[in-house]
Symmetry: C2
Subunit: 194 residues, 2 copies
DNA sequence: GGCGCACTAGACAGACCTGTCTATCCAGGG
DNA sequence: CCCTGGATAGACAGGTCTGTCTAGTGCGCC
């Protein structure tokens, strides 16, 4: 007993955790491979055997962020009863992240800000944005919107705008509060009566 | 005659034009000094004599963008009669830029995406964001909003959200149209009756 | 003519980047 | 026992980055 399968995480897991922390905090262009492997305690050859290139490591980092957000939002939405409440719920759930002092903006917006057209980050960001759009559109449809695509897109605009404001402006709670007001008024105007 | 004061632009002007083009199209981190000076046809020593560092060149580039937007918006707004129309006018005027195929997102969002805390780009972006905020807040006040600060912030969220969507999504006109709908509904809800 | 100044070309330093390669180690399974 | 496979450290190649420095050029103005 005490086989102590203390199981130090695998090299792949440590690399991803290190990449997630450093890439998010400082940026995918700013952080070099050497810092990622040094922080992970992993040899450089292991990184290239596992991921093949820095670009693919960035893709894996963004896919991990996507999966984590999906899980957090999907599970969090169970606490909300109606589709309409769930829409506001998305902003509540993500707003909790946004107000974290370590929040540095949407990782997909940041990673693609200076990406070349074919970069892995771009396709990872496309996937994420499609997921957000579908989430809002589906909830809008369930809430009985007459034009759920349009409402979904408007919600995504607010979602993006809040994320930008919370990264770049001083008072973050202010930005989140204004965004929530915007969402509630939008839902009232769109869903109550036609 | 024909003194042909063809007046080739000064080294400073050529550097700024080159930086504006390359930094905006490809990103301030991606484009190196060598490419800026080569495209400008200017010696490296001249760049460092004129601006002192790459960081200050980036600041000058962003200040130039800020001044150009200020001029374009301020002049464009003369065509709109009421404060309320002017608010929508800001989105019309900037929307024209957003739909340009060379649009690559808000230069301040992109330049600061991976900037270190003390970088020149951060303070230039702070100045720009304060200008946008004041513009919307002042117009909201003139339009008779009961809480112009709140309305101004909500408008900035929409403004930022449109810019993000137009950079990252396929169909740009769709994003702009949704944003304009959002703005009009917001104004109707906020300004008509109290 | 001659002075000063803005500019030019380009080498150079020193650091950092991604990615490859060698050589070694160690644990688990047959 | 030995073999395999994943992991290790670290040198290395070849390139790029910012910023400095030297040396020289052309032009306006006194």
């Amino acid at each position: 007993m005490a086989a102590v399968t203390n199981a130090r995480p695998s090299a792949r897991e440590r690399l991803l955790a290190s990449a997630d922390e450093l890439f998010y905090r400082e940026g995918v262009h700013v952080v070099g491979i050497d810092r990622v492997i040094e922080h992970a305690g992993v040899a450089k050859a292991t990184l290239y055997n596992t991921f093949g290139s820095k670009d693919e490591l960035i893709r894996a980092y963004l896919q991990g962020r996507h999966a984590a957000i999906d899980k957090r939002v999907t599970e969090g939405l169970n606490a909300y009863a109606t589709p309409r409440e769930k829409i506001v719920g998305v902003f509540d759930i993500q707003g909790g992240r946004f107000t974290n002092p370590e929040y540095r903006g949407c990782p997909f917006v940041s990673a693609t800000a200076e990406a070349m057209p074919g970069a892995a980050s771009v396709s990872a960001a496309d996937d994420y944005r499609a997921w957000v759009r579908d989430l809002f559109t589906d909830l809008s449809r369930q809430a009985g919107a007459t034009d759920p695509e349009s409402l979904g897109q408007q919600l995504q605009i607010i979602y993006d705008g809040i994320a930008v404001g919370m990264r770049m402006d001083r008072d973050r709670t202010e930005s989140l509060a204004a965004g929530l007001t915007l969402v509630r008024n939008l839902l009232a105007a769109t869903l109550d009566q036609g």
